[in-house]
Each structure stands twice: as structure tokens, then as C-alpha cells.
Amino acid sequence: MLRDAWLVAAKDLQIEWRSRVTFSQVVPFAGLVLVLFGFALDANRPVLLQATSGLFWVTIMFVSTLAVQRSTSIETTDGARRALLLAGIEPPAVFVGKSIAVAVQLLAVEIVLLAGVVVLYSADVEAWGLVFATCLVATVGIAAAGTLLGALVAGVRARETVLPILLLPVLAPVLIGATRAFDDALGSVAVDGWSWLGLLAGFGVINVVLGALSYGVLLEET
């Protein structure tokens, strides 16, 4: 099963590499959001620094809906979904593979965004370990929940508008936890960031399991 998951992940990433949608569209979008907030908050240093964690993760929330849409639409073209079933790849493997691909893309965006906040907002990172750990754990949860919901809205009309309504409430714990962890890492608020990682990890595990169990019924029935 892991082999199949890896096959699917590699295929998705290969398609992304070939078409460069994330690279040429999503990353600039994320960077633009940072710049816009700079303007909106009047380049007011203290305010920007306080808001950095929140802005970072809200941006990632929106980026994740784009990434998930893209991941799902790869399979809706020309009967690929059905063919995946016919090829005998178990649905949980498809789920894990696609989640990995989404996670990798999100991590790439996060790295760029980190560079952005360090440069544009002069963010002073006190604990890089915490920053990277948070990104990793949070992204797993985001990718899992997103991939499951992406498959759910595949083939439904107006899916671009329904997906955020479904995904963002589910991701609320990630937003809360990751932002608090970043606050600690940036030294802006006195909280214990590492304890929030526990919540993020729990969220990730639960949603990975949920996705692996439910993906099959969505792939077969819808």
C-alpha cells in the first residue's frame, strides 16, 4: 500500500512540476497577501509583528484550498478517478499519496512565506526548531483534511465555493494551534508553543485516519 501511495504522490508532484501551477500562481498569491497586509497595516512595525503569526497561517489556510482544488481536479479530467479504481490501487493509498503531494506543495509555500515574513516584516525568529516542527505537523493535518474534503466535492457544481465552507471550520484547531506556536517562536506572546504541537499532532492523526477510512466510499460512490 505504501508503494502505491508513493506512486500516486510522485505522479501528482510530477504533474505539478510539469504544469507549475503552485509555483507560478499560488506562491505569488501568498507573497502578495503579505505585501497587501503590509500596506493595510500601514507598515506599522509593532502591529505587523504581532499579527505575523495570524497572517501567516490565515494565508496558508487560503492557499490550502487552492492546493486541494488543484489536486482534486487532476483526477476529474477524463475519467482518471475511475481508472485509479480499475488499476487496483486501494483508495487509502490514493488518499495518502495525494495528501503527501498536497503537503509537499504546502511546505514549499510555507518556506517561501517564512522568508517573506522575515524579510518584509522583519520578524525575529527565536526558535527555528519550533517553527519547522509546527509547519510540518500542521501541514500534515491540513493536507489530510483537505484531500478528503476535496474528494468529497469533486464532480459537484460550484465546488470552488463549497470547499472553503467545509474545509476552513474543520481547520480551525490548526489555525489556533499553529498561530499560538508561532507566537512563541517569534517571541511576541508568552505562551508555550510546544504544547500546542500536541494538539496539532492529534488533529493530524485523527484526520489522516478518518481520511483513509472514508476516501474509499467517496471514490466508489460519487
Binding site: 467545509l166 489556533i176 505562551v191 494538539l199 488533529f203 478518518l210 460512490e221
Partner: protein, 251 residues
Amino acid sequence: MTNPPLDLPAHTGSRTSRVLGAAVLVGVATMILLGFFVAPEDDLMADSVRMIFVHVPSAILTYVAFSVTAVGSVMWLWKRSVWWDIVAHSSAEIGVVFCGLTLVTGSIWGRPTWNTYWEWGDVRLVTTLILFVMMIGYLAVRSMGGDESAVATRAAVVGVIAAINIPIINRSVEWWADRTLHQQSSITDGKLEDWTLFTMFLGIVVWGVFYTWAMTHRFRIAWLERELRDGDLDKAIAARRAEAAASGGAS
């Protein structure tokens, strides 16, 4: 392919539903009487405490309705039970109304005490707000997409996702309130007078009866809608086979 006309009832009422409906009316009248004239003012909140008679029952029924939807979703996925699917859908529709009512009354009630319309430290209220959006999402998924059983499956998965994630959301909001806002403040945690408590519990019962009444009607409407749309499977099969004769073997 046209369906022959069905024997449709003129309305979805029945003796049971009429009894339930009457009980709701009597209950509401009693509550108004008790709520406005018998139950006393609260020491801290004065008259605004009377909001509790609507807010708490609405909150409880919101979560009851949501739980029913969750159970119905599981039953559809597990047993493909159309009955449970309709129950899940109906419960979500009614529940979303209760949810909205909970949020509005919670906000109005809190205003005099908190001095703001929204208190982020009220963990239950914040969680209920997120639940509200999720229920809207559930209903949105219901209203798009064609194939009946595919719609049911999608909605059921949303229901299960929501049911599993709501506790996590609740816990994370709780920690958030504890560790950053440094206060959890729920308007409902104060001490209540006897008559106030009684009227509140009566409210829960009355809301519960209302929920049952509304579910009965909503369920029946949905059931009849399906009958109308799908007709009889055997008739459909017969009509389909008749196409063969109609095309007369011509290829």
C-alpha cells in the same frame, strides 16, 4: 417516461403530529407565563436572564439535532438506510435553525453583561458558531450534485467529519481561551433561582417536543418527495424493458 399520478395526501398531519403541535402551543404559552411573570429577576443580570429560556433550550436542541444527523450519517454509510438518510437531512435543517437561534440569543443576552455583542472567551458559543458554519456546509452539499445516493454519501461523510472534529475544535477553543485570553466566561454558568431553573427545563422539554413535531412533518415531506420523484422501482423496470419492444429490435 412519465409516472402515473400517486395518491398523495393533502397534508402531512396526523393525529400524533396534531397532539405534538398542541403540546408545543400549550408549552410555549406556559413558558411565556412563567418566564415573564413568575420567574424573578436575576441579581446580576436583571431581566436579561430571561433570555436563558430560549438560549439554553436552543443550544441543547442544536446538539441533539446535530447528533441525530451524525447517527443518521453513519447509518447511511453502514446500512444504506434511506430512512436514516432522510432523518439526517431533516434533523440538519431543523438543527441549523436552532443553532442560529442559539447564537443570536447568546449574543443579545451577553450584550448587557459583557458590554460587547460577542465574547470570544465563551467557549461553547464559539464552538457553536463553528458548528453553524459546518451545518450550512452540510446543507450546501445536500443541495448540489445529482445522483441521490451520491448526494447522500457525500453529506453523510460531511456529517461524520463534523461529528469527529467538533470535539477537537471545542478543546482547542478551550485551551485558546485559557491560555491566551486568560478567561473563559460563559454567561450560563451563574447560579439560578428555582423558578428560573424550572422554566428553563420546561423550555428544553417544549423545544424537544417542537423538534419532534417539526421532524415528523419534515420527514414526511421528504419521504413523499422521494416517492414522487422515483416512483416505483418495479414500474420503472417494466417501463425500461418495454423500450426493447418499442425499438422493435431495429438496430
